[in-house]
């Protein structure tokens, strides 16, 4: 990978990016993009607590920046339709405090019905929406001004709480030079720096989003054009003011909520034992590739819970020696297990 950047952790002095960091970023970067259709599950075990999951996720994010299909534009009109359907047929009729797990309504989170037009004006899904004919209708507040977006103009609309699908100008574009230096010569499509993507997910620590961010926040990179904190590079919504678009869907393992309305991600990187167990259990991730990062300075019971869960998959999965062989040698202290589902 031969990154040209410098690295600092926990406010210590700048140094070349250490081998363990390079290895983890490379693991995410080299992760197959799912074209084979074979689901993979990996467990990365670390000798200490670290930002391992976030670094793997960063590698996968850089990989996706070079993928012309890695954006939320193509399926955006369908996303709006799904959101409208959930709101009209379920959430607007529900008088319970929102708890999809208890209600067993089949949704992961509440659809409030609110959408934004060109990042600013608030509208709500209108009852004039025709789900059968795939025609959307949004109404603006008390004015009753109703708009009927067409598929080709759908990217002007975003679900409230979701990141914008695409920026209309260069302000807020992601820093190409940072990603391009972290993985040297990584192909990056300029257009992707302006677009959000929800196919990659970081499942945070079960302690919550703040705890996950704190761990990430201790890691910084410095390149020719400036310094970049890991939370900023990950583009998780609300983690950095500078991020207008978000290329990382965040799953809060404590509340079991996503930070956006999105369909199942292609790859989930789970941080910590409890988060991995949840990721492997929840139906939202049943088709996703999963990379779990865990440290070994835990009680035996916790280690066994993870080990039993992952090794229990061996009846359907085989070790992916090919993938392991393509990776550089793991630094001393890191163990990696990659399982791939047998061809069906």
């Amino acid at each position: 990978m031969q990154t040209t950047m410098l690295f600092s952790e926990a406010d210590q002095e700048w140094r070349p990016v250490p081998h363990w960091v390079e290895f983890l970023i490379r693991l995410g970067y080299d992760w197959p993009d799912g074209v084979s259709g074979q689901r993979r599950i990996a467990l990365v075990s670390m000798p200490c607590d670290s930002a391992a999951a976030s670094l793997i996720a960063l590698g996968a994010l850089i990989r996706d920046l070079g993928n012309p299909n890695a954006n939320d534009i193509d399926g955006h009109y369908d996303s709006l339709l799904r959101y409208a359907r959930q709101y009209l047929q379920s959430c607007s009729l529900c008088d319970m405090p929102c708890d999809p797990g208890s209600k067993n309504c089949g949704y992961a989170a509440q659809a409030t019905g609110w959408v934004r037009y060109q990042h600013t004006t608030r509208y709500r899904v209108s009852e004039r929406t025709s789900l059968r004919n795939r025609h959307l209708a949004f109404v603006r507040g008390k004015s009753n001004l109703t708009r009927y977006p067409l598929p080709e103009g759908a990217i002007d609309w975003q679900i409230a709480g979701d990141p914008p699908v695409r920026l209309t100008n260069q302000d807020g574009a992601l820093p190409e030079e940072a990603y391009g230096q972290i993985v040297d010569r990584a192909p990056i499509l300029h257009g992707n720096l302006l677009k959000s993507f929800s196919g990659l997910c970081l499942a945070g620590r079960v302690a919550g989003k703040t705890a996950t961010r704190e761990v990430c926040g201790s890691v910084r990179f410095r390149g020719a054009n400036g310094e970049y904190a890991l939370p900023e590079l990950l583009t998780v919504q609300e983690w950095a003011q500078s991020n207008a678009v978000s290329r990382m869907n965040y799953f809060n393992a404590r509340t079991e909520q996503f930070d956006r309305q999105a369909s199942a991600p292609a790859l989930v990187v789970a941080d910590g034992d409890a988060s991995i167990l949840k990721t492997l259990r929840l139906s939202a991730f049943q088709r996703s590739d999963v990379i779990g990062a865990v440290h070994r300075t835990m009680e035996r019971g916790q280690l066994e819970a993870i080990g039993n869960r992952v090794h229990g998959l061996r009846q359907w999965y085989a070790e992916d020696y090919g993938m392991l062989g393509r990776l550089p040698a793991a630094p001393r202290g890191i163990s990696v297990l990659i399982l791939v589902r047998g061809a069906s």
Partner: protein, 541 residues
């Protein structure tokens, strides 16, 4: 994340191979004591007699402690053995001549050990002297209660005491420690139970050398050094005599080089001396054939604790202001941890006379009499209790403990049989004092219900479904959150009466969790109730 990960990786990269220096100690007299006690434990364990089972458990705990902690031979260890045998003079006739012969052998061995310094302590002293001479940084991994036994090795004139930061007591302590030169560990490497240590000692070393001081015959647990990302191995194939010498980590494993040094009597040379067996392993195998469940200990104040089986839903309170839902059901090992409060609802319809108005109504009466008799004639009281059949190992210490005034928990004997003996010997509580409408039970029965209730063994009659009770408890507690927060600021443990109009009657007892420890197997009746730590030790794996 206390230690920067790069610091750990830099340390591991510099280290081609770690070293396990295993010092195996033999001593004929201690071997004889081990052998006789082991056989007593195993034979009494097969008995149907509750006293025999209880004695077996106590002896097992004692022996396990001695094998994993550097106790001084001349102190309480020998008092405990000889005291136990003194009170068991009738043992030969009660449990057979074979047990009597084993008693006699143990007594002889105990007397032989009186004049001997524990060689494990000698070895630790020598190791630490050498490390200090070489200016090496070192730490000791041990249970919190083992710590004084290490400290006393160096409490002599001219010795530098062991400092506070020398000790590591938990995986959290280990996780937060900077790399150092040498780790000292007494006893075999086991993931659970007596002398347990984190697997990370081998899979995520923070040190270059592990000095392990063990009694001969005590083998490391097969599979110690577990890494969930490595393929499962067949643990039965290993002999368990040494730690796994090469723990495979990724494709550049940390190598462990094991050097074994044996000292003491050569098992082949001493007459009548046979090599020791592995008691810790034998006891574990014995457990596996019994109907016991794995459990986690939650240590609370006053040397008490509560065992919970895996996947329990424990009603608890999180005092942190950031807690999303302060009162909730939480799981051991997941969200129930140190600093939180366990809540035991003491609900029910059992009318205990005065107790509804006053927690500890009966206990105040018998404790006052106990305290008075202990003050005036302690040795006479001990003799009378022993003669009546109350044969605990540390009876004097137990009586002092029972004298303590009732708090959130009522300190009292652990079994009803022992409690009835105590009440009878004290001559307290006439049945005539029981209110007329409660004449269905004796005074001692009501006093015992009061004790059991304080331990969480509440009799929840009058409710058809436990689920209704749970739900109602949760709702009631959430309404009381402001009061609970105020109480928790002031006290570690407290009782909170349930106000009228909540659909349930009784009170909630709050216990702050000080420590969480895995590695117990206990019968159903010992789970989810408050017990003294000395009693819980019996269930250590």
């Amino acid at each position: 994340m206390a230690i920067a990960a790069s610091r750990i990786f830099d340390f591991l990269e510099r280290q081609e191979a770690g070293t396990v220096e295993r010092h195996e100690i033999s001593l004929a007299a201690f071997g004889a004591l081990r052998r006789s006690l082991r056989q007593i434990v195993l034979r009494l364990r097969d008995s149907d007699d509750q006293d025999a089972l209880s004695l077996s458990g106590q002896l097992r705990a004692l022996l396990s402690e001695w094998l994993t902690i550097p106790v001084a031979f001349e102190c309480s260890m020998l008092d405990a053995v000889s005291g136990f045998f003194r009170r068991s003079e009738a043992g030969g006739t009660r449990w057979g001549s074979d047990i009597q012969a084993l008693y006699d052998e143990a007594i002889r061995a105990t007397e032989n050990l009186r004049s001997v310094e524990n060689p494990v302590r000698d070895e630790i002293r020598l190791v630490i002297w050498e490390l200090r001479a070489q200016a090496q940084t070192f730490k000791v991994y041990c249970h919190r209660r083992a710590r004084p036994h290490f400290e006393t090795i160096f409490i002599v004139p001219g010795e530098l005491p062991l400092s506070e930061d020398t000790f590591l007591h938990s995986v959290q302590d280990y996780r937060n420690t900077e790399p150092f030169d040498t780790l000292i560990k007494v006893g075999p490497l086991r993931a659970r139970g007596w002398g347990s240590a984190p697997d990370a000692l081998l899979t995520a070393p923070r040190f270059r050398t592990l000095v392990q001081v063990v009694w001969s015959g005590c083998s490391d647990e097969p599979g110690f050094g577990y890494d969930p990302a490595l393929p499962p191995t067949d643990n039965t194939a290993t002999d368990g005599a040494t730690p796994p010498v090469a723990v495979s980590i990724g494709r550049r494993p940390v190598q462990w080089k094991t050097l074994v040094t044996r000292s003491g009597e050569d098992p082949g040379a001493a007459a009548g001396y046979t090599p020791e067996e592995d008691e810790l392993r034998a006891f574990r195998e014995m457990d596996q054939s019994r109907d016991e469940r794995r459990a986690t200990l939650f240590e609370i104040a006053g040397k008490h604790g509560i065992l919970y089986p895996p996947h329990s839903e424990v009603l608890s309170f999180d005092p942190a202001s950031s807690a999303c839902e302060p009162i909730d059901y939480r799981r051991p090992g997941e969200s129930l941890h140190e600093g939180l409060y366990i809540i035991l609802p003491r609900l029910g319809e059992v009318d205990l006379g005065g107790v509804r108005a006053e927690h500890g109504h009966y206990s105040r009466i018998w404790k006052a009499r106990l305290e008075q008799q202990w003050r005036t004639d302690a040795s006479g009281l001990i003799k009378r209790l022993q003669a009546a059949g109350l044969n605990l190992v540390y009876l004097g210490a137990a009586i002092k403990h029972w004298c303590e005034p009732p708090s959130t928990v009522i300190h009292a004997p652990q079994t009803m049989k022992h409690f009835e003996i105590l009440v009878r010997v004290l001559g307290v509580g006439s049945d005539a004092e029981v209110p007329q409408h409660l004449r269905w039970g004796s005074w001692s029965q009501f006093a015992w219900v009061e004790i059991a209730r304080s331990r969480g063994e509440a009799i929840q009659t009058g409710f058809e479904e436990q689920g209704i009770v749970d739900e109602q408890s949760l709702l009631s507690l959430r309404r009381l959150i402001a009061i609970i927060r105020a109480e928790a600021l002031a006290k570690a443990d407290f009782l909170l009466p349930i106000p009228d109009g909540n659909g349930i009657r009784g009170e909630f007892a709050f216990f702050k969790v000080y420590r969480v420890e895995e590695g117990f197997r206990a019968p159903e009746a010992e789970l989810k109730v408050v017990r003294e730590l000395s009693v819980i030790d019996k269930w250590r794996d």
